[in-house]
Homo-oligomer: 192 residues x 2
Amino acid sequence: MFETFRKYLEDKIALTDQDYELIKSVSSFKKLRKRQYLLQAGDVCRFNAFVCKGFLRYYYADEKGQEHIMQFVPENYWTGDRESMDSGLPSKYNIDAIEDSEILLLKKEDFEMIRKTIPAFNNFVNDTLRKNIVVLQERIHVSISFSAEEKYSNFILKYPSIGNRVPLHMIASYLGVSAETLSRVRSQSTKK
Amino acid sequence: MFETFRKYLEDKIALTDQDYELIKSVSSFKKLRKRQYLLQAGDVCRFNAFVCKGFLRYYYADEKGQEHIMQFVPENYWTGDRESMDSGLPSKYNIDAIEDSEILLLKKEDFEMIRKTIPAFNNFVNDTLRKNIVVLQERIHVSISFSAEEKYSNFILKYPSIGNRVPLHMIASYLGVSAETLSRVRSQSTKK
DNA sequence: CGATTCTTTGAAAACAGTCAATCTGTGTGG
DNA sequence: CCACACAGATTGACTGTTTTCAAAGAATCG
């Protein structure tokens, strides 16, 4: 499982074997079955999670039981509730597995330790944060400007692989549209 | 103008006079009149901008001429188009002044230089990025889950001072709601 | 298979957007 | 100091989009 993570890192930065040993020494691993929680609302988030294999979702469940997906997390992506991690307060979000998954976990403190010890890793994390901001901003743009139909076609264009991998009602939830509307929107657009 | 920035930094991190000298030596300043652009779509963004005084907006103008506000930027906040800055490509966004403003500008390269030279500054920037992500994420949550009315009351609750400072139609644009709808929503909610 | 999850469809209702007109307040130039 | 222009807010009538609820079909999985 660590090998996947190592390959991911090798692609981005140049680290020594010693660096990898350090990282490995503080990594822990977790297998999740489909539907299993990685983080449940009410828990404090203490980990940065890296998906080696599988597929997670990061979502909010409101009072009416409706779920609003904040993030899809396929292999080679990070997740975790930064807010809860920084504050030490319980999370309002849930993270669970959409597919059987293999997760690498780095405790907050270990993660910070790695950043301090390995400058290249620190730079890489900063870069990743910056890119993440661009992505979130783009999503806000879509969210405040686009109709349901535009949101859907934009999503399919941008994340074709996710489109094939998750049920339609989850894409609806991610886009902030009802499942019925998205079903109609999609049948419209395939007619063209 | 630099004094405002210095006070802002002193509040967050401990720097030496020498550090401040360094920062000051690469800072440039700009006064903007109301309605004046700091960045116009099509330009490449080369600066990180810090608002010392006044109020900016960061927005997208679509083909129909409609404006979608991505960010309000009051004093003591940063702005700039990260995407354009990282890629070197023209920006799709505009930044202009809602009030007469005073801006401190740090060229991309100088900003990076400061980060490399002053570790505390680097840490501070990273922290700011992290917090920014939390804020953006929260906005996405609101955007995909809330009705127009909930969006408005949430906004007023969270940013009461901005509510008094910008015209209603700009709040509407920020929330992704038409100005007319927001006007109705508001008159409803004041009746209660 | 039987159960569950997912998708589709229909009809009604709620919600939000558009267009146009009016009203308000503000500030600028004569 | 007034008149006028202008930006902003409000209102009404209408249209269009999206949600909701309910039911029925697919598809998938143990």
